[in-house]
């Protein structure tokens, strides 16, 4: 017997939740308990009174699983709303990364040149290292980090994706 695998698609969800203790564990735990995937998850409070947090989850799965994920999130008591940005239409996805490269000579010059092309900013420099700050869609970050591997990457930190729909309407 072999275990069958299904075609998956990537979706980005914006989830508004009560900003209370344990909410992140509740959301993340629901994903593991039901066997769903989390590609990236970001959370921060977004309301003036710090009562509401927005969680952005990039997930993947077959369409019927995505539908379940949304329904399962929606039934959690502290969850106010779930919006599937991928389904809703055009939206902007951004991620920030801090990328440290070390080296001298040609590698150092090449790293600087690539950073310029990718519009990464230098936020720290020594005679044999740089820390670049780069923002963009996840695939741009991915490509940049890949290039840095060839010129002396030593460390990378990524925020995970945040996303918002285009146009005047709110989620």
């Amino acid at each position: 017997m072999h275990i069958k695998e299904e075609q998956v698609e990537r979706h980005v969800l914006a989830v508004l939740v009560d900003n209370e203790a344990g909410i992140l564990a509740r959301i993340a735990g629901m994903f593991t308990a039901r066997g769903y995937n989390i590609e990236s998850l970001t959370v921060a409070d977004i309301s003036a009174d710090h009562a509401i947090s927005r969680i952005t989850i990039a997930t993947n799965g077959p369409p019927h699983v995505i539908e379940q994920i949304i329904a399962q999130l929606d039934r959690l008591v502290p969850v106010h709303s779930v919006r599937d940005l991928t389904e809703a239409g055009p939206h902007v996805q951004r991620e920030l990364a801090l990328v440290k490269v070390a080296g001298k000579g040609e590698n150092r010059i090449e790293a600087m040149r690539l950073a310029d092309v990718y519009r990464a900013r230098v936020v720290d420099a020594t005679t044999d290292s740089f820390v670049f700050e780069i923002t963009g869609a996840p695939d741009k970050i991915q490509t940049f980090v890949g290039l840095m591997r060839e010129v002396g990457l030593v460390e990378v930190g990524r925020t995970g994706v945040v996303a918002i729909g285009r146009g005047p309407d709110s989620a």
Binding site: M1, D18, A21, G22, A25, R26, G29, M30, A33, H64, E67, Q68, A71, Q72, D74, R75, L76, V77, P78, H80
Partner: protein
């Protein structure tokens, strides 16, 4: 406003919420609450013998009365012992509030004595849970906990209260905490969807109503609405295990339970129907059989209060989100408004008649042994006029009870359906008896399951509860053995109930009456004696050891591939079928 301790606030809020019965077990981290209870005789505390039993007793109380069950246990082992019953309540949508003690807030995380991460452990087996860090928050949290447990799809809610929060004081008045909750599930069905459902019903030539535990949870009015809807439609009705009793078994329209151990006619009708109206059920794997062969030619309407139940396993054509009782009332109004006059579905009923002729629940007769099915049938004959509350454990006896004990009313059938928890029946019977002291309450048990919470014999004795236990004793974990016969060529790996106690002496040692029934000739008199004996009675009914539960849809098979008799059993299965539960 006067200042009160957290423990006082808790007890007064419970009283305010109408709680009159609490199932619990004391311990270090709940001593302040137990001391507060000492001064409030209005709340009846039932001292169980194991925390798991407290949760099942609360479930039995809730399922038979419609009110939420309340549990009080200590930290650490008290809370972890309650986890099985909490999960059981989640799976079967039983309203329950579990109050757990916790170590003081300054000790949380220090591996203190009897500390467990109760909120972490119960996060995914509750509908919601709380750790209360201030006594001033208690009243609000408890009000919301009861609201969440009972509204929408019911379920268990855990409130974890550190010991210092029980002792510390806060201002309190009776109106504390009564704010509008953030949890407001949709009750009324969407008008457009109701109209569409009515149109689908009006077009159908072979409709079937497939009902579930949601109808029971929605309350007695939902069962009345179901009867009216069935009468208006003239369509056949089947039900899941959890929904038995919502529709009277004596009705001509009743097909019996569907699914793995359902009737041939119910499963065939599901397979051949052109419209399935699912009312408060969730297309569980025990119902559907092989998914790609499940009711292949039907349009499907799914009425459920929980959106996540829709399209979870079976794609439906029309979801209607709302309380099933309310939606049925809406649907009745629309159908009557349109002057719906049901056709007689003559062809449909003649096919059903053909399937009924199989007489799938027939079982072989024996003069030397008591057939377990006959034992259940005789129990029904002797008691049904009193509308007894029946609880069960889990296994063959449970399925035989579901097949051979007919229910006419809701809230009379208490069983662990989703989680399948052995040891459920005795504590659930205790809870049901407390909820309805005059009812005849019988736990139909197996000799293996009953041992999982046998200590509760003492609880029934202590509170003088006249609970009856009817053990269908075949000296096997019968359902395990049955699957081993179906799948593993009868290699009975660890399914024999060895070293059984003398149940009669055991019962007597707890102050119960014990009755042994061995001979088929004594079956009826033994049952009569059980009913006529005051106080708690345990019956050890020795039945045919190797009888199996038929009909059955084996793992991975379709509704049309039922095993009707032992002759249909092949003794092996392929790996795909073996991998299914």
């Amino acid at each position: 406003m006067a200042e009160k301790s957290g423990a006082e606030i808790l007890v007064e809020t419970l009283l305010d919420l109408g709680v009159d019965t609490v199932f619990g077990y004391p311990g270090g981290a709940v001593l302040p609450i137990y001391d507060a209870l000492y001064n409030h005789p209005k709340i009846k505390h039932i001292l169980v013998r194991h925390e798991q039993a407290a949760t099942h007793a609360a479930e039995g109380y809730a399922r038979s009365t419609g009110k939420p069950g309340v549990v009080l246990v200590t930290s650490g082992p008290g809370a972890t012992n309650a986890v099985t019953g909490i999960t059981d309540a989640l799976m079967d949508s039983i309203p329950m509030v579990v109050i757990t003690g916790q170590v003081a807030t300054n000790l949380i995380g220090s591996d203190a004595f009897q500390e467990a991460d109760t909120v972490g452990i119960t996060r995914h087996c509750t509908k919601h849970n709380y750790l209360v860090k201030k006594p001033s928050e208690l009243a609000g949290v408890l009000n919301e906990a009861f609201h969440i447990a009972t509204q929408g799809r019911p379920g268990p809610v855990v409130v974890d209260i550190p010991k210092n929060v029980q002792v510390a004081e806060a201002e309190f008045s009776a109106h504390n905490g009564k704010t509008n909750s953030r949890y407001q599930p949709q009750v009324d069905g969407d008008f457009k969807a109701i109209n569409e459902a009515a149109e689908m019903i009006m077009r159908a030539k072979a409709p079937i109503l497939y009902t579930g535990g949601g109808v029971i949870n929605s309350g007695p009015k939902a069962s009345e609405a179901l009867c009216q809807l069935a009468e208006l439609l003239g369509a056949p009705v089947t039900s899941t295990l959890m929904g038995l009793g919502a529709f009277p078994a004596s009705s001509e329209q009743w097909l019996g339970m569907l699914g793995m151990h359902g009737t041939f006619e119910a499963n065939m009708a599901m397979n051949r129907a052109d419209l399935v109206v699912c009312l408060g059920a969730r297309f569980d794997d025990r119902i559907t059989g092989r998914l790609d062969a499940f009711s292949p030619n039907s349009k499907k309407i799914h009425v459920d209060i929980d959106r996540s139940s829709v399209n979870k396993t079976v794609r439906v054509d029309l979801p209607v989100i709302g309380d099933v009782g309310r939606v049925m009332e809406q649907l009745l109004a629309v159908l009557k408004g349109r002057k719906f006059n049901a056709p007689d579905y003559e062809e449909w009923w003649s096919r059903i008649k053909g399937w009924r002729a199989t007489d799938c629940l027939a079982f072989p007769e024996s003069k030397t042994e008591i057939m377990p099915q006959l034992a259940i049938r005789k129990l029904w004959e002797a008691t049904h006029e009193r509308h007894p509350i029946i609880t069960t454990e889990v296994g063959q006896h449970q399925m035989w009870a579901a097949q051979h004990f007919d229910f006419e009313k809701p809230n009379k059938w208490l069983t662990s359906g989703g989680l399948g928890t052995m040891g459920y029946g005795l504590p659930a019977a205790i809870g049901a008896q407390l909820g309805d002291p005059d009812a005849l309450v019988i736990d139909i048990a197996g000799e293996a399951s009953i041992q999982m919470n046998i200590q509760e014999l003492a609880t029934a004795s202590q509170y003088r509860l006249p609970v009856k236990i009817f053990i269908v004793n075949n000296e096997y974990m019968g359902m395990v053995r049955q699957w081993q016969e179906l799948t593993y060529e009868s290699r009975y790996s660890n399914s024999y109930s060895d070293s059984l106690p003398d149940f009669i002496k055991l019962a007597e040692s707890y102050g119960w009456t014990g009755i042994l029934i061995e001979d088929p000739a004594d079956l009826e008199t033994g049952i009569k004696k059980m009913i006529e004996t005051d106080g708690p009675v345990l019956v050890d009914c020795r039945v045919a050891k190797l009888a199996n539960c038929f009909p059955m849809i084996p793992s991975g098979a379709a509704h049309t591939e039922m095993l009707l008799t032992p002759e249909d059993v092949k003794g092996t299965m392929d790996d795909n079928a073996k991998a299914l539960v």
